[in-house]
Symmetry: C2
Subunit: 98 residues, 2 copies
Amino acid sequence: MNVVHIREFQEMMKHLYFNRDSERGVKGTYDWLGDELRELGEALEEKGEEAVEEEFADVMAWLASLANISGIDLEKATVNKYSGKCPKCQRSPCQCTF
Amino acid sequence: MNVVHIREFQEMMKHLYFNRDSERGVKGTYDWLGDELRELGEALEEKGEEAVEEEFADVMAWLASLANISGIDLEKATVNKYSGKCPKCQRSPCQCTF
């Protein structure tokens, strides 16, 4: 598997972890995602590419888990807001002046 | 655009924001991602589905931006760790006992 749709990844995470994610709940899963983001920050500061890749994967995984138990389609949400142009200035590349 | 590969989304973010993301740098972009995660947490607690979807989209967007300026292929990183089974127990669904 080397070309993966966002939705496909989210579905895989649902198959692997939905029961456990549901038991843990939205708050607990959100907190865990925060922990993974902190680990990514540490890896970016201190560690090599392999560790950084693993931490990016974990953030993606926990974000998909959180979306699953929140009833959100991550691909739809993402495409609705970001579809080829900046949602603020409507340009591509973005030309926002802030 | 309604079926999106993780890589395709990351490439779109690169086209839209790479210059600005590069100027801001890894630390500043990581901090912004943290802010977006906090906003997602607030939306999950207080707001409706549309706002929650937008915040999920923003976290995905900033995670892709951070991957771009860190030289990480988010799809490759994700698939390397999560490819149809739990990376810890090697089962599907996960049967980890922790």
